[in-house]
Symmetry: C2
Subunit: 156 residues, 2 copies
DNA sequence: GTGCGACTTGAAGTCAGCTTTAGGTCAAGG
DNA sequence: CCTTGACCTAAAGCTGACTTCAAGTCGCAC
């Protein structure tokens, strides 16, 4: 029950799975706050583990740190987040996940039709998307799901 | 019908949607080949548009350029790829897409159960994945789909 | 032949999200 | 008190996929 049971960076690293360098980085970026010993070493409250779990989950579904920070800022400062707090954030993520899934399914279905048609002409293939037509639409392909366009591995 | 109808880099850029800088980059990286004018300017065969469509599709589903190059190298050198050529590549992508979709769906379902339970304790939540337990499992969270785990610290 | 936009190159810059390095300091057990 | 491992900082480095820059060249219309 003591509020004194503070964790060292090494302990947090071990329990959270984030390396110390990442923890320091997150602190610099304003995602975590720490107290310090008289000697300047970091001491973490246990609640940081929850924040880190949040961060990991968010990163997992491709949310950038800027956005994670916004989410964390919406959580109440010291106290345990309420059910409503989590629900709000969770719903936002749910929407994002749905979008990502939908985009991938659309892409997969397009791919299936490619396999079916042989895709030799590439004229009607949604996935390969003939360049001549795209060119007329202006720079940057516009036929693929926005979620996935221009989003290499990181977001997926 | 002439084989002479070659495209300038600007034309290819316009038709493919890739900026000239990306086209030069892809050439340096061995994804494209070009002929040159006597003065050293690039001239592209029309077939490059197909390769670029391939590249765009691959990039869209998160495939890195290294792997794209491997895929392109499997296509016959000069001639139009056969149905079998495309099918082989497409099937590989299909599998990858299926994996990605499955991982996202698993994540979404986990998120749904979080919303349901309120996630106040975080003790049983698959998505948030309590740090204390993870700590006991060794470094690096192990509860999320491999596809999406993307632990920031692969080396830890 | 001249003007000018499109083209050429290599090198350096960008972005995210960290990691690594160098050179020191702290804290706790013996 | 001393040792030793964990910790500190700032700054630089890394990866991938490009973009931007500087300085110069090409090619086509007039």
């Amino acid at each position: 029950m003591d509020a004194k049971e503070l964790l060292t960076i090494g302990e947090v690293a071990h329990r959270s799975g984030f390396p110390p360098s990442a923890l320091r980085y997150y602190e610099r970026e304003g995602l975590l706050r720490t107290t310090r010993t008289s000697g300047g070493q970091r001491r973490y409250e246990r609640s940081v583990l929850r924040r880190l779990a949040f961060i990991r989950a968010a990163r997992t579904i491709g949310i950038g740190l800027d956005e994670v920070r916004v989410g964390l800022d919406q959580l109440p400062d010291g106290r345990t987040p309420t059910k409503a707090d989590w629900s709000r954030l969770s719903r936002a993520w749910r929407g994002r996940l749905d979008e990502q899934i939908q985009a991938l399914v659309a892409l997969r279905d397009g791919l299936d039709s490619c396999i079916g048609c042989g895709c030799l002409s590439l004229q009607r293939c949604r996935l390969y998307n003939p360049g001549d037509r795209v060119g007329e639409l202006g720079p940057g392909a516009r036929l693929l799901p926005p979620m996935l366009r221009r989003t290499p591995a990181e977001g997926v």
